[in-house]
C-alpha cells in the first residue's frame, strides 16, 4: 500500500491555468494521477487540455468528486487558496509554492487544525508526494521513482529537502528497491505534515518495510522524529542529515536550514537518530547504501 495518496485520489489543481500549474498538472496526469479539475475564478467554464476549470474548489469537488488539491498559486495568494481548499471539502492539500510568509503558514496551519482536524496539509515549499506507479502530485520527476517490486521489500521515503528527495528516490531505483510513497515535507518553518506524521503512517502501512528519512540542519524536527522512532517504530530507518559542516548562524537557502547557539546542528540530530537505532549515513549515497543493507536483511 501507499500512504496519503494512491490511484483513487482525485486531485484539483489550484492555479492549473498558470504556467507552473499547467506544466506540472499535465505531467502529473501523464504519470497516471487522476487530475480531475483546476481552479481559477476568472477562467471558470474553460478547460486546460480537457481538464475542466472551476471558480473555486467547492465547485470542483461538487462536479468531479475531487478529494485532494495541489496548490501552484503564487505566495501572496496561498493563505486564501488553502482556505478555499478546506472550505471546498478536500482532505489533502499539497502546497508546492515557495516563499510563503511564515506568519501566514502559522496562521493557516492552526486554523485548519482547529476547524478541520481531518484535513492534512503537505508543505508549503515542498516537492509534493509520489506513490510510484499510482499517483504523483507535485514536481517530482516520476521516472526517477521505482514502484514496489513483486516479492521484494519496499520502503518509504520522507524528506525535508527537494533535490535530496530526488537523489534518494534515484539511488533506491538504481538498487532495484521499490518505494511505496515518497513524501517531501518541505523545509519551511511550519510544515503542514511532519516527519512524525509520515513515520506513523509508514509504520502502519504493511507494504512499507523500512523508511529512509532525509533531514536538514535547523529546528528540532529530526530530534522529535528520533524520539518517535525510539518509542513507537518497529521498522528499520536509515537517514542522512544535510549541513553536517555548515557554520553556525549561517542561513543556507531554506528558511529551515539555520544553525544557532549549538541547537539544531547536524551532529546533534545524527546523534539523536543513532541513539534511536537509526542507521545514519554521512552523505546521501551512504544513506542509500545503508538502506540496501537494511533491505537485504528483510528479504
Amino acid at each position: 500500500m501507499s500512504i496519503f495518496v494512491d490511484e483513487t485520489t482525485k486531485v484539483v489543481y489550484q492555479g492549473l491555468t498558470g504556467s507552473q500549474g499547467k506544466f506540472y498538472g499535465l505531467r502529473n496526469r501523464d504519470y497516471g494521477t487522476q487530475v480531475v479539475a483546476g481552479t481559477n475564478p476568472k477562467k471558470a467554464g474553460t478547460d486546460v487540455e480537457g481538464i475542466p476549470v472551476f471558480a473555486n474548489v467547492g465547485e470542483a469537488v461538487a462536479a468531479t468528486g475531487a478529494n485532494a488539491s495541489c496548490i501552484f498559486i503564487p505566495a501572496p495568494g496561498v493563505k486564501d487558496a488553502v482556505l478555499d481548499a478546506v472550505n471546498g471539502g478536500v482532505e489533502f492539500i499539497v502546497v508546492i509554492t515557495e516563499g510563503v510568509p511564515a506568519q501566514d503558514e502559522a496562521w493557516f496551519f492552526n486554523k485548519v487544525k482547529r476547524d478541520n482536524p481531518n484535513v492534512r496539509i503537505l508543505g508549503p515549499n515542498c516537492p509534493g508526494i509520489i506513490s510510484p506507479g499510482k499517483a504523483n502530485i507535485g514536481i517530482t520527476a516520476g521516472e526517477i521513482a521505482l514502484a514496489p517490486q513483486p516479492g521484494k521489500p519496499s520502503v518509504g521515503i520522507v524528506s525535508r529537502s527537494g533535490t535530496l528527495t530526488y537523489q534518494a528516490l534515484y539511488e533506491l531505483k538504481l538498487q532495484g528497491i521499490g518505494v511505496t510513497t515518497c513524501v517531501g515535507i518541505g523545509g519551511d518553518p511550519v510544515p503542514g505534515t511532519s516527519f512524525i506524521d509520515c513515520l506513523e503512517a509508514f509504520e502502519a502501512d504493511p507494504e512499507t518495510r523500512a523508511v529512509m528519512m532525509i533531514g536538514e540542519i535547523g529546528g528540532s524536527a529530526e530530534e522529535e522524529a528520533a524520539e518517535f522512532i525510539a518509542n513507537k517504530m518497529s521498522k528499520p530507518v536509515s537517514s542522512y542529515i544535510a549541513g553536517v559542516t555548515a557554520p553556525a548562524g549561517k542561513k543556507m537557502g531554506h528558511a529551515g536550514a539555520i544553525v544557532s547557539g549549538g541547537k539544531g546542528t547536524a551532529a546533534a540530530k545524527m546523534e539523536a537518530l543513532q541513539a534511536a537505532g537509526v542507521k545514519v549515513g554521512n552523505n546521501p549515497t551512504e544513506a542509500g547504501e545503508l538502506m540496501v543493507e537494511i533491505v537485504k536483511g528483510l528479504a
Partner: protein
Amino acid sequence: MDLFEYQGKQFFAGYGIAVSPGEVADTVDDAVAAADRLGYPVVVKAQVMVGGRGKAGGVKLAANTAEAREHAEFILGLDIKGHVVKRLWIEKASDIAEEYYASFTLDRAAKKHLGMLSAQGGVEIETVAEEDPDAIAKIWIDPVEGLTEAVARAWVEEAKLNPLANDGAVELLQKLYTAFTDGDADLAEVNPLILTPEGKVHALDAKVTLDDNASYRHDWAEYEASQVRDEREQAAHDKGLQYVGLDGYVGVIANGAGLAMSTVDIVNQVGGQAANFLDIGGGANAEVMAGALEVINNDPTVRAIFINIFGGITKGEEVANGIVTALGRVKIDSPIVIRLDGTNADQGRAILAAHESESLVSKPTMLEAARAVVEIAGKR
C-alpha cells in the same frame, strides 16, 4: 533580514510601542548636533549587527557636548568583532528603575508563537535560560486566537515584574505582538524592556528579524538598502542566487538547497574546504549557470569548482548543454569538476565528454567528484 537597533526602534514605533527619542548620525558633527538637539544626558550607541557592543566600548553615556564628541569620535570606525561602526544612534538617556526581557518568536516544534518574558533583563537571555529557567515566563499563542489582554495580563503576573510595571507591560506586549505578526517579523525582542522611576514601561533596545518572504506586502526598501553583505554575497544576491560565503577554496554550485548543503559537506568530508554554498534552484539553464559561474569566478580564494547537478524535471542533456553554453560565455579561471546525475544522466555525460579537458572533468558520483575536485584544488 536583521534590522539595526535604530531600524528596529523605528519599526516598533510604527506599532505604537514606546521607545526613547533618538537620531541617526554617520559623522561626529552630526552626532554632536543630534545630541545637542535631544538634550543631555544622551547615549551614543554603535549600530552594528553583533552582540557584545557594550563590552567592546560601543555604547557610552554622554553628559554634555564635549563628551558626546569624544564618544562619537571613539565609536565611529571602531571594530567590534569584525564589524566596523559606520553609523551611530544617539538616544536620550533613560532613568532606569528595573530591566526586563520580552520577545516573540515562532516555536517550530509547537507550531505556535512563543512569548518569553522575564524580570531578569539586560543580560543574555540564554544565560538566564540555562541558570534559572523558571525566571522566564513562557506562553504559547495560537496565531488564530492572538494575544488577548486577559492572557497578556496573566502572563505578566506570572513573570513577577514590579507590580508598578504591570499595566504598561500588558499594553506594550500586546503592541509588540501586533508588530511581530502584522509586521511579519521572525523575531521581535526587547532587551532590556525598562520600567522608569515614573512607572513608565518602554523598549530600550530592539532586535528585529523580518521575514524576507513577506517583503512584498511591506515597504522595506530602506532596511534592504542598508543590509551589509560581503562583495561575493552582494553579487550573488543581485543575480537572485542563494549564496553563502564560506572560508574554503572549493567553489560549489548545486541545484537545490539540500543538495548544495550536501555538496559542501562532502567536499569538507574528503579533506577539502568549500568556499561557498550556492543554490541555483531546481532547474539549471545556461543563463542561471553562467551567472553562478561568474559569481564563483570572481572569488579569488577559489582554486577549483564543483558543479553538482541532479536532473529531475530538468533532463541531463539540458543541464549539460546549459553548462557548455555557460562556459562559452564566461571565461573561467579555475578547473571544473562536474557530477551530473538523475534523469537522462547518460545523455548529459556524453555531451560533457565531448568537451572534457584538464580543466573540465566529469565524474559519475558525488563522492568521486568531490575527491577529484579537492585533489585538483590541492595542486594549484
